[in-house]
Amino acid sequence: MKDLPDTEITLDQAVKFLWEEADILDRQDYDAWIGLWDEAGLYVIPVDPDTEDFADHLNLVYDDHQMRRARAQRLQGGFSISAAPPAKTVRTLSRFVVTASEPGSLTLRSAMHVVEDKFGRQRLFAANVEHRLIATPEGLRIGQKVVRLLNSDGVLTSISYLF
């Protein structure tokens, strides 16, 4: 891992960052979202609620930088019928818990609710989200994001936006 600035990330900074990310995702501004990432970061939505070994298990999403970019392109390129027009979403993040803190990085878990609206119907998803944020000279970046959907190993619906 590259050298990180030694600055401490405060909870206040982290929460503001996550709310900004949530706003970007609800606006479906995926280019801006890609910009929030550290290129080496992994974005995972596992099927197995308990696993930490994402590589050897099936996931809903397992995105490195290249797959994140391809996904953003799919969702905003206008060629995906499920995303043209996409469902609208409104999400809330709350109940922040810091799970690890080091100079230059902060890991926090939060509760997320996403309400989706499409075809005149609304659906609700709830998830525990874990972000590892890192400090860079350009500001905070996402070093890893793991979204543990409630019922991730049960029956879901198709989803054409990001958590």
Partner: protein, 422 residues
């Protein structure tokens, strides 16, 4: 309305008309009820893969139509498919999705059942007059059949043997299992999602190549050039779709990938080169080529009436929930005992297309739901499945064989639907 009055109505079978089907097939709850009795109540229905119940005492919950079942392996290793309903007052006896046990105990009054479904113990038996005949009150058993690791069950004790029902599909199942690359096939996990549509809309899709370049444009755009070429089957003229009888059909997209043990000396595609290199220290060249070729899966989709698809590298299982609700399972398959990086690559390929957030499935789900929504309009109009009719040849099995985009597979399924609904 009782089922008896419904099932004697000969009108149902007439709703499938060969090259078209009547819209109420997607819409009418009464038809759905008859389907559950006459099709899912009689046919051999896919319930699990043997690797999901690998050892003695293993069990897995599943469904036959709308009925909940337990797939279990008893202490002698024999498989059972049991209706998940206590014979006392109907409580489900198991709500753990998958696991290992020595018995199933009903949570309500404590009746205990063995892994083979037989009733073993009841508390306070003296409350029943005379001798309590346990032999009459085991869990309801379905007939079980397996083929190449796939477990099927039927409620019909008179049904033809499973192998006869699979018939011409068997050689294709044999080919499909070659994607183990010499290792046994095992399930690696699954995506499950529900779509507001009739189950037959999904059934039609497994051998529908016509939709691929339209619906999956954004998936195709996410591929590298070489891989994109692999998926250009609609522009090549060497693929085909074939009626296999009994409602089954096969769609061959990449004829060069029908038999994964052939053409092993072909150059290794770019996207598999790193994988091949990483295997060099553990396997010889022939085995590496076999593994690498198996990772991408087979070049065809096989549709097994009424609920299973063997598609490229995974099982696609449908479960009818109600007339306008269907659950789909996309089960990833891997090599049991094979190299971890090969299985990882299969998982990543699966995630790329399949499941609730794949680059393909949400677009499929969207158009399937659109079919259901659209079919609320003009119920007197028929759904057309006549593409390719009149252009078909006879297959070696003496059944219709159309070009890659023909709706031959749908006609095959609806012919079986009609036969069973009569």
């Amino acid at each position: 309305m009782t089922l008896d009055s419904v099932t004697k109505d000969p009108q149902y079978a007439a709703l499938a008309k060969g090259d078209r089907v009547a819209t109420p097939l997607y819409e009418d709850p009464a038809i759905f009820d008859v389907e559950m009795e006459k099709i899912f109540g009689k046919a051999w229905v896919w319930v699990a893969h043997e690797s999901e119940v690998p050892g003695k005492g293993n069990f897995k919950l599943s469904w036959v139509g709308t009925q909940p079942v337990i797939v279990s392996r008893d202490r002698k290793g024999a498989l059972h498919v049991l209706v998940n309903r206590c014979r006392h007052r109907a409580a489900s006896v198991c709500e753990v999705k998958k696991g290992k046990t020595s018995s199933f105990q009903c949570p309500y009054h404590g009746w205990g059942y063995a892994l083979d479904g037989s009733l073993r113990a009841i508390p306070y038996a003296e409350g029943y007059a005379g001798e309590f005949d346990k032999s009459q009150l085991g869990l309801r058993q379905l007939r079980v059949g397996t083929y190449q690791g796939m477990i099927f069950a039927t409620f019909d004790q008179e049904a033809e043997p499973l192998e006869d029902f699979l018939g011409n599909a068997k050689p294709w199942i044999d080919l499909f299992m070659k994607q183990g690359g010499g290792f046994p096939i095992k399930t690696l996990g699954e995506h499950q999602f529900k779509v507001p549509m009739n189950w037959k809309i999904q059934l039609e899709n497994t051998t529908d190549a016509y939709h691929f370049p339209v619906v999956h444009k954004s998936f195709l755009q996410s591929l590298d050039g070489e891989t994109n070429q692999t998926f250009s089957f609609m522009d090549d003229d060497d693929g085909w779709v074939e009626d296999l009888g009994n409602g089954h059909s096969v769609m061959v997209m990449m004829p060069e990938l029908i038999d994964l043990d052939e053409n092993l000396d072909e150059p290794i595609p770019e996207r598999f080169k790193a994988l091949a290199a990483s295997l060099e220290d553990r396997y010889d060249d022939a085995q590496i080529r076999r593994i690498v070729r198996a990772v991408g899966g087979c070049g065809f989709n096989l549709n097994l009436f009424p609920n299973a698809g063997c598609s490229l590298s995974f099982f696609r299982i449908l479960r009818p929930v109600s007339v306008a609700e269907t659950e789909i399972r996309h089960i990833a398959l891997g090599m049991d005992g094979g190299p971890a990086e090969a299985n990882q690559m299969r998982l990543r390929l699966h995630e790329h297309f399949q499941g609730p957030m794949g680059f393909g499935s949400p677009d499929d789900a969207e158009v399937w739901e659109r079919v259901q929504r659209g079919s609320a309009g003009g119920v007197d109009m028929d759904v057309m499945v006549h593409r390719g009719l009149g252009l078909e040849e006879d297959s070696p099995n003496g059944l219709p064989k159309g070009d890659i985009s023909a709706e031959t597979g749908m006609r095959a399924a609806y012919a079986k639907w009609q036969e069973m609904m009569a």
